[in-house]
Symmetry: C3
Subunit: 208 residues, 3 copies
């Protein structure tokens, strides 16, 4: 199993946990948990594979991903009530999932020798679309677009880090992908914990 596959597994596992947590807020049954967990877990990578015409789509070729995501859903179904603050767990787990998924997407696009812009976009898409589908389907305000927090910015910064390191020829792909995940997660964690953010658009006070 190479490093890219490992990243895919890690991102599937952690995103599945976040999907199941959102399902718990919607009070679904165990099959609903598994459905939302799988959608969240493989959503971003599926979009990436379709856009890049990589077939079979990663989980179609290797169903273990789905079993892993379903197992995570079952785990959360029976244990989430023991968790003190599900919202807090959700946000932190999502931050790890984001970092790992951005790396996985960036790595997959690099392997296909795509141009830097496309590599960064594939990292961003892989990181964000799973969570976006989870939130749209479950009627939550998408974390991706939450006001006054860094989210897509972290994904972009992480993917750009990997691209820069690689294009400078400083190191191998593996280190570039690790740097990507670290930068992405650090920014997201700073935004959650310290409130780091970029200026948001403000209309003039007397809004017409």
């Amino acid at each position: 199993m190479n490093f890219l596959t490992l990243l895919d597994y890690a991102s599937v596992l952690v995103f599945a946990l976040t999907g199941a947590l959102v399902a718990s807020r919607a009070q679904l049954d165990i099959v609903g948990f598994a459905f939302v967990a799988c959608l969240t877990a493989v959503g971003g990578g599926t979009i990436r594979d379709l856009l890049l015409d990589r077939h079979p789509v990663f989980w179609v070729g290797e169903p273990t991903y789905i079993l892993l995501a379903s197992a995570a859903a079952v785990l959360i179904f029976f244990t989430a009530h023991r968790v003190e603050s599900r919202q807090k767990w959700l946000i932190w787990l999502d931050s790890f999932a984001l970092a790992v998924a951005v790396s996985a997407g960036t790595g997959a696009a690099m392997e296909l020798d795509k141009s830097p812009v496309i590599v960064v976009l594939m990292g961003m898409a892989t990181g964000s679309f799973g969570g976006l589908m989870r939130d749209v389907v479950c009627n939550e305000v998408p974390l991706v677009l939450k006001q006054g927090e860094l989210y897509m910015t972290c994904a972009m910064a992480g993917a750009m880090t990997a691209v820069s390191i690689k294009s400078l020829g400083m190191t191998d792909d593996l280190s570039a992908l690790i740097a990507c995940a670290v930068v992405c997660w650090a920014l997201r964690a700073g935004s959650i914990h310290f409130g780091w953010h970029l200026p948001v658009y403000k209309s003039r006070p007397p809004r017409s």
Copy 2:
């Protein structure tokens, strides 16, 4: 015309009727009816074909599907006001569409000799994504995720029935697909009529 094609046509027709009923609740014009009907009718099968890299996508290769869905939309546009309870019709039509579409998805994946996990998932995806898009686009609470009802569970049980029957070598594919539709519909009907459901997740009473 083989049996799989027949299933595709049946699922397109019935899902189109449900799409048009939802459009009637949103008070759209006749083109809006046709749009929502087509989206609902071909949505699930399109996702299935893209994921399995089956090209041309079933309705791109054979536009009759679209004409059928549009005709269903026109029919509903002029007759829905004569129906006593559109919500009731919607739910029951949707149950038939689900059963038929799950069969169609399961059959398509079986034909490509996919592994059992993927066959079950393709059945579930084909059955659910059309209705899911319909509800997300029209701002309805997705039927798929309605609390305290069986929905994805019916799809899963149906698809699993087909896979089991086939792997036991008991019979031909056709009978397996009919069994799939019957199991799926019976469970869904039981859930609608008798209130069958699985236990749903409940957080502890004093929710923090």
Copy 3:
């Protein structure tokens, strides 16, 4: 650069502007503006390319589209507060984007010699899905489905115009596509300005 490519660029630019305007209503930061702008700008064409199995997807093969959409987002981020009525700008820009994107989608499907029904549908899908994703992700009521306005009808009329002109052999593709954009835009403008609309579905007054 041929005419089809030009249409793709024009539609990307104008849809990106509308995406950024919606982002300004959601008060996102500059990366959020770029994300929504790109999603809106390339969403419809991406669906078209996936459905028609045209690879690489137009913007994956040519990242300039993404840079153009991002530049449009930055422009709006710094200037939208100077605009008197963003809603009005949004609606009119969206009408231009619709007309151009319908042409682009129609042209792409014609080039692949698809049947008339598919050509019309690809025009409609390319024109509508970018805006639909923008509105679903940002929690706005989809313009596509706004009650009492022509929208999908304009897309359909435009695409049908192109198909008719072409099938009559009256002229070359280029003129057919220009006619498509003109018809589509004129209908949409008439609907916005003069309130043109089709009868909408009305349930009986005492709704059960």
